[in-house]
Symmetry: C2
Amino acid sequence: MLSLRSLSARLSAIAVAMLVGSAAGQTKAPDYTRSVDPFIGVDWGGNTFVGAALPFGMVKLGPDMETFDGRRSGFGYSSYGNVLGFSHLHLSGAQGKYGNILVAPVVGHLDPADIRSPRTSETAEAGFYATTLSRYGVKVELTGTRRVGFHRYTFPASNDAHLTVNVAAALGLGPGYEAQRFLGADIRVLSDHEAQGMARFEGGWNNGGEYRVFFYLVTDTPAAQTHLWNGADLIDAKQASVGRGVPVGIDFALKTHAGQAVQMKVGISFLSTEQAKENVRSEAPAWNFAAIRTAAVAAWNKELGKLHMAGETPAQRRMLYTAMYHVMLMPADRTGENPGWTSSEPYYDDFYAIWDTYRSSSPLLTLISPDRQRAMIRSLVDIYRHTGYMPDARSGNDNGRTQGGSNANVVIADAFVKGMTGIDYETAFAAMVKDAEVPPKDPQREGRGGLKDYNQRGYITLNDERAGSRTVEYAYDDFAIGEVACGLGKTGEAAKYFGRTHNFENLWDKDMLVSGFKGFLRPRKADGTWADPYLTVRGTWPDFMYEGDIWTYSLYAPQDMRRLIEMAGGNQRFNDRMDFIFSRGHFDVTNEPGFLMPVLYAYSGRPDKSADIVHLLLEKYFTDSRAGIPGNDDSGAMSSWLIFQTLGIYPVAGQDVYLIGTPSLPQASLALAGGKTLRITTKGLDPAGLNHYVQSVTLNGVDLPNAWFRHAQIEHGAELVFTMGSAPSAWGRTTPPPSMSDPGYRTCVTQ
Amino acid sequence: MLSLRSLSARLSAIAVAMLVGSAAGQTKAPDYTRSVDPFIGVDWGGNTFVGAALPFGMVKLGPDMETFDGRRSGFGYSSYGNVLGFSHLHLSGAQGKYGNILVAPVVGHLDPADIRSPRTSETAEAGFYATTLSRYGVKVELTGTRRVGFHRYTFPASNDAHLTVNVAAALGLGPGYEAQRFLGADIRVLSDHEAQGMARFEGGWNNGGEYRVFFYLVTDTPAAQTHLWNGADLIDAKQASVGRGVPVGIDFALKTHAGQAVQMKVGISFLSTEQAKENVRSEAPAWNFAAIRTAAVAAWNKELGKLHMAGETPAQRRMLYTAMYHVMLMPADRTGENPGWTSSEPYYDDFYAIWDTYRSSSPLLTLISPDRQRAMIRSLVDIYRHTGYMPDARSGNDNGRTQGGSNANVVIADAFVKGMTGIDYETAFAAMVKDAEVPPKDPQREGRGGLKDYNQRGYITLNDERAGSRTVEYAYDDFAIGEVACGLGKTGEAAKYFGRTHNFENLWDKDMLVSGFKGFLRPRKADGTWADPYLTVRGTWPDFMYEGDIWTYSLYAPQDMRRLIEMAGGNQRFNDRMDFIFSRGHFDVTNEPGFLMPVLYAYSGRPDKSADIVHLLLEKYFTDSRAGIPGNDDSGAMSSWLIFQTLGIYPVAGQDVYLIGTPSLPQASLALAGGKTLRITTKGLDPAGLNHYVQSVTLNGVDLPNAWFRHAQIEHGAELVFTMGSAPSAWGRTTPPPSMSDPGYRTCVTQ
């Protein structure tokens, strides 16, 4: 018999069911979580989280696997390695942190050093995870709230069953670079069904200082006996305090009958065990797994429902709702859980890193979740107030480590020029100026490395790492500061920072010739002369360019593409260079520095070429499989790129401008603030993708001749209608998006 | 309304229909061509052919597109460029040849230099292609026979319609390297509905000499007028002879009413216009487009039906039948069309290249189409008889150009050790010895470059290009010769060539240390001392290694993996090195030199690691999309790799051995010769792919403890039953596949 097993077949069936349902006039709200597949991107370096979490949830409860390097998001490659247990703190689209308070069931003799098990029948949904540990025959189900992990383990009959809690566990423990270190813990068994404690860790990808994870756990099944281990062996004590590197954990020994479900709630806090207990009390007071799970699904549907679509393929539906899900896993809402200072402001952690997310994640949230984006920005400003800098990356309650440097400036400007209210922009502006003026003690931690050079010479010399990429990023950061200064009426500061925005020209060697193209970024010495060109394919830290090459960074000047195109020899030569980059493998779809590149043809009069490139990139690099994200999802950055490019619009982060690429959905809409909607209708698409060229566009019924528009044109709701065709058209070629050196450039947007 | 547009949804519907059909007891043979999607692999360098062709057909009638380099298979990137017309000769999974006799409809003023048009509504199936040219509003339908292209153009009403034939057209015309050159043509209009002629070309990827394409064409609609062009302008002549580079073609001017279908049959021959006309007469005598198309579908179903499966996903079904289709597009059966010599032997052209196809295409055809494989081998031997060498690559009736060198030796041995009859092995053996002993005049054309060095020193020095890859390939070629010598009872020759098979050791520098691993292939001077190591990531022609690096070629010794593993430090170090290769990006899935690598763990006692790698490679690199083939399909080589690896078995080409990887289909079978069947049943697979580890295997009900078996164990039909699990097992770890240095190695298989 032919079995229809594939998920795409299942989804077709669901789609049919929905069609039938809708035909029958049913009005029940769609369950968007049915289209979320948390496994998309787990393999091949997407590093996406698998487990139970709320949108921006603090607790992310999921399995940790054996991996060859132990450094992934926890899940690792889906088909590789045993389950070590289920821990409560994770990243998504990132690695090198957390994996704490690891719970695992055991049946039979308990050796704390060998609890791992293969798994079968694994399922993951938004807010839910289940599997069966085949070594033990235990079914595992997980769900949770913002700060509580809710576990259910269904045991076979056994006189020797256990629920164990490894308090010393963390991902990537070790002495090496980027490794986490376990510093010690205190644990206490409170009763036959309760325990609490605190574990201390440091290090990890961001080289962070100590972070403390407090927990309070309670089971619904009294243990026959409890034990601890502090070291290799089980002991009968109720309490233990251990130091650096010493194994430590708790065992609830159980006698189970076949099919007996044992539940456990684990409250997590960064403040205290009392707070951890309070989190259980306030968020998950009852023993109702189903209710917690239903609430999680509802929370996700509220967020996912901000994207609506029709006429999409099942694969597109899966990809896009999963992308929405991935965008909203990070950063973590830690409001009320900040151990560093007392504040009434929101508190978010795991900005990981803003260098990744400022490009399209932030602009997406500004559109569909402005309240969330506002809270995050307020948190960034509050972190500045109390630590002295806004982070470029932050995790484990500690700033670090910087990538391009101070891209939070662009995040502030993006919100500002889009009219986001409720932010203390005066303090935000002070934070931006701090970035631009005060060299940090540790430039890998925060602020701008190489700042002295940059501010004295207008470029960074080879005395500092990432001199090339930082120079062009700082120039754009300064543009962002200028925008906010301008809008706040700070005329002097605006002139000062706008004056620095052309620093990207200072590393441009107009005579440098590569593959027939003239003019590239080039290392420059302190005396102003050129150093040897930087020609390696991809930079690594520390190096002249961070995670990008001369083809990518030489075209990075979103504040003044007109000038940059002129420097590159005009539209035709610029287009030739772009064609060369994409056809000869100089574009890297797996990393953020190139995010804007495919749509840069909008500035050079050939939006049809952007359409070609975007269409081909979507076709090859994004799928609905476990390998469906081409590089690290980077806290959802890659996913947000997918969403915008599929919709056919792409933000120039830090400006009130969207570029038009090629829309791929017949109907899509985004829910904006205040009940408004951005509707995107695309006429004439064909399944083969031949008709990917925009022929014409209307915005609210009025012809839109340009391959771009401003935020103000859509922020109160709008209808974009694209008419597509199989051949490039004359549309969008005449008036490029704004650049600073445009005649009559509008320098100032006021709030 | 939710529209279910995707192909996967369509296929689910088909699958449901089939399920219903089967439940209702219907016995109609399935139409496997419904699962063929010729668009798989057209984008991102798969270079697969799109158009109408029979299995191994000579005529491959399909669209040629504008491309940035004009060098692709004709179709180019599916979403890019205008249609130039529909030509009759193409490659698949390759580029750099053909694109001849280009037919195109025109409506309105005819400018022979500007006939191109965008297209819409494009469809491709096995034996059929259709589109609408939007510039002209003409619907195009194509089908064909082995040597005849059958066109149907449905016109709008027009007093100025045309059917044009560009006789000077070819893909990648130009003066440059690998470009084709048009040398001249003779054309003659025979009547208001007939024409014939001949065009001459040379060059292309294989640097081939002149090839002549003869045509005879006939339409079913008398032209109102006919014209020629020989140069830019239309003239009234009936006949033209032009020289190198001069545009030349034919115009049938028509007056059409709306919806008028005009049909054209184009007979192609490499012998004469008379033969071209005879091809039309014998293969497509009537004006019955539907009958020709139905026959093409039937021919494909006969071939595709050799693979049967159940329980597969719709995507797997599409991928695998399309892979079967791609494997059988190349080489071209040119029997009866050989202009070089008269022979009663079969004649095949477009071995492109055997270096690509010997690894898995040939072994696949030996299993499921032994008659076809026999014919190809007889053709190779006949080419040797008449040109002096078997080709390593051949196209346009000319040998060239060699890749690794003389891999036809492995093809002969593969057939021989698998007991294929009907081949003149004495002559085949002479051809192999010729390769091994007689240096060719032009080593890019045929034979073994660097042979003198190799035979004198046992390795190739840096005096010749590709010294490293050729040395290890020749060592394996010599093993192939030894096998055939042995089987033919040529004891002396067998000893001689088996004696050379350890030449792979001669370039192994046991002290060369890279990334902690000791022992790599290294360039060596004529005096026996080492030259500088070859450490670039990927070699290019000419260089030490051809299209592969030291990680790949250093592990190439299929004749004696036991010895090679010993040289690499034993099983553990070998496995560590393999792990390093796959986890650190040193494996290149896009090219043939690495084809065997993922399953080499079978030799080092860890078939579970092969399962990991194969599972992940299938997940990431093969999809049912237009980007679904990771590199050039290389005449179906990549597709044949996909078929074997999905089935869970992989041939060691040139030996009677198959290695076991990880089967991915619940049920599959291959039709073998004589009505026998190889059935593969896989128990315990899960949709998520967790259960990809073989736990145990039975072959015809008997436990198979090894991760390999011999051809004799399946050739008369067999049933393989795999039991899968989620964790690596002890299965297959004990007895590795055969290696020459095994104690008691069986050196000789007799026919």
